[in-house]
Symmetry: C2
Subunit: 393 residues, 2 copies
């Protein structure tokens, strides 16, 4: 096991009856809060009014930043920074998905930096080590940003998604209420849930390194749990237990326990350039990619057969046998069928009318201009990446 | 899932090359530290001298409390309190097992209280909510006290083990170096490892409540991982991976993730009165108890058969079949064989020459004078407890 340092300080309030603690957390830092959200869907929800009431009735002054985009833009972050600086705000509260939480983290760091522009922090032009307090209230089980210390921001002018990372932007508190995810439509539930699976795949299920028994077994267990509970959350949107399991799984897939002692590999997240190129939902991009990436690797090189066969048996429930390549292929088919039939998602871009891709541009983004993806589970050359993208059409 | 709050702030330094961070953690709180340990075995170890050198060469003044007992006595705690109060010490550093860590927690809280006697805090005569900083350096994989916020102290005069519990005594940092456990003899390795398994059994594997998919599956996975890695750590004491897995598993069995959303049941820990009555090692007491407790419950009431059969199949590797009572019985036998043959521990007290027990006294302690153990996995009357103790002879 590699040496590692682990600490995750976020205080989690989990469940139906925790909202009354919100003002206590906010008032630890000051009496002014910026509440960020994605727009009218949240703003018109009963949750939003309950949050505002809880805060205002306890003496907290609320400022608002609406219309945070999926893949939040650096210009939106900068708008939030201006509000915080102008009003002496001490805390940012995100109500929404990972994008809103990430936006709040970026605002929090930029506000206490010497710049008014998050992109200066992203590019390292300005150093930072402090941030306003961040509080997260996720309304979808997906990124796990609520217990994690990084954020991803889109610069549309440059066509780049990038981010910052540091202990100061880890949320001080996270309010995880499964009932807040009841209204998430089936397709978004599926995409968010698949994002969790992809974090687990990338973080340390498919690793080209020794498998540490504890962390690896736990990751496999989380994968299997999500594989089984996600279809229930899709079919029965008000199933509390399934929604609760998904929400807690999202946090744990990204809270660093699973990666303790591992170097993360992240092939799928590097390859997932659909969201930045086509404005496709990130989780859907990952779902389309995974079986193609697995099939490509297996056909190229049978050294992956044992890992993929283990996945087939232990996660997808495929019957084991001696022929690991055949079991691995059955596992890949089972995953694709799961995505199509149980998650109700397309498995090829053509199903959405997308007939061609700017493949060269995507390959450049995936490899950051290098010759290959060298630190991935298996090294992928640019040619490999291009072929995998082609399989997704 | 029940509502819950979760936060675990301990900073973990895991691995072979982390000791250089020790003075950084100590100096966050002040330049005087009380180093507590169990006696000459630690004091004469190379580790001890390295710790003292690391601290002193970085300007930290070291005070010492040696001879902390297994089941640390309240009088020893009070000796530590006197040293801390007399010298204005800001931090306690435990080098040793759970007893030493618990002793440091108790010293830390008492020093900042209005009493000089830990037992005033235990009995609630004095309130407390602050503590000196606690830093833990476990030298055995066992209690998980290094990431947990409670401690157990023995009052030999009263014949009672009890403790205190609060966020202030959760260690600020824990240094987990698997090589520090290489010299733990086979029998203590076995007892410490079994203590981890018993935490998992009690904390939420055998629960008389709905099984939340995520937490329950993770607990089962941790159990299976310990079941497989502990015999390796016993046979190959310098196997880094096995020692590392055990050390990290100990922390995670008690760091509250596994119990999030559950009420813990703790039948085994309530029943384990051998350590306080016979001065037997706690983990050995638990190992002797578990199969008898399971057998007694199964013979009394087949409602446990499904749970025990699942344990048999998923943890002990017993082949499944339709007859759950028979599978459950095979699982209990497999556990007893595992304890005897793979852990090398006695499975009856008579093997250690213990031919009789003060059963009435033990029953009173287990039930705290009530009529039964009502919140256990299955309610146990005093008569039930007595019969289980009898089976252990």
């Amino acid at each position: 096991m590699n040496d590692f340092q682990f600490q995750n300080t976020t205080k989690v309030y989990f469940g139906k009856n925790q909202l009354s603690h919100l003002h206590e957390e906010v008032l630890k830092y000051g009496d002014k809060v910026l509440v960020a959200h994605g727009g009218n869907f949240i703003k018109n929800s009963p949750l939003y009014q309950k949050v505002i009431d809880e805060l205002e009735s306890n003496g907290v002054q609320v400022f608002e930043l609406g219309a945070v985009e999926p893949n939040p833009r650096h210009t939106t972050v900068n708008n939030g920074v201006a509000i915080c600086k102008d009003n002496g705000i001490q805390t940012t509260l995100a109500i929404g998905g990972g994008s809103t939480i990430d936006c709040c983290k970026a605002i929090a760091a930029t506000t206490l930096s010497e710049s008014d522009n998050i992109w200066d922090l992203v590019e390292g032009k300005v150093t930072w080590d402090k941030a306003l307090a961040v509080i997260a209230m996720p309304t979808i089980a997906s990124t796990g940003s609520e217990m994690d210390k990084s954020c991803v921001i889109a610069n549309v002018e440059l066509g780049i998604k990038s981010g910052i990372n540091g202990e100061a932007i880890r949320p001080k508190a996270a309010f995880l209420d499964p009932t807040n995810t009841f209204t998430v439509p089936a397709r978004q539930t599926a995409c968010g849930g698949y994002d969790i699976m992809a974090h687990l795949f990338d973080m340390n299920y498919f690793v080209n390194a020794p498998k540490y028994p504890l962390q690896f077994n736990v990751v496999e267990t989380l994968l299997k749990t999500v594989r089984n509970q996600l279809p229930i959350a899709i079919k029965e949107p008000e199933n509390y237990e399934a929604r609760a399991t998904m929400l807690w799984a999202a946090s744990w897939a990204l809270n660093s326990f699973c990666t303790s002692g591992f170097k993360t590999q992240a092939s799928l997240h590097a390859l997932e350039q659909f969201s930045s190129t086509l404005d496709l939902t990130h989780g859907l991009g990952l779902a389309i990619l995974t079986p193609k990436w697995m099939k490509y690797l297996l056909d190229r090189d049978e050294s992956v057969a044992d890992d993929f066969a283990r996945f087939a048996v232990n996660v997808m429930g495929v019957a084991d046998n001696e022929d690991k390549v055949s079991v691995a292929n059955l596992g890949i088919e089972a995953l694709q069928t799961f995505i199509k039939d149980e998650l109700g998602l397309p498995v090829h871009l053509s199903e959405m009318g997308i007939k061609s891709l700017p493949i060269d541009e995507m390959v450049e983004k995936a490899t950051h201009g290098a010759d290959s993806l060298p630190h991935a589970y298996r090294v992928l050359t640019k040619e490999d990446c291009a072929r995998i993208y082609h399989m997704c059409l």
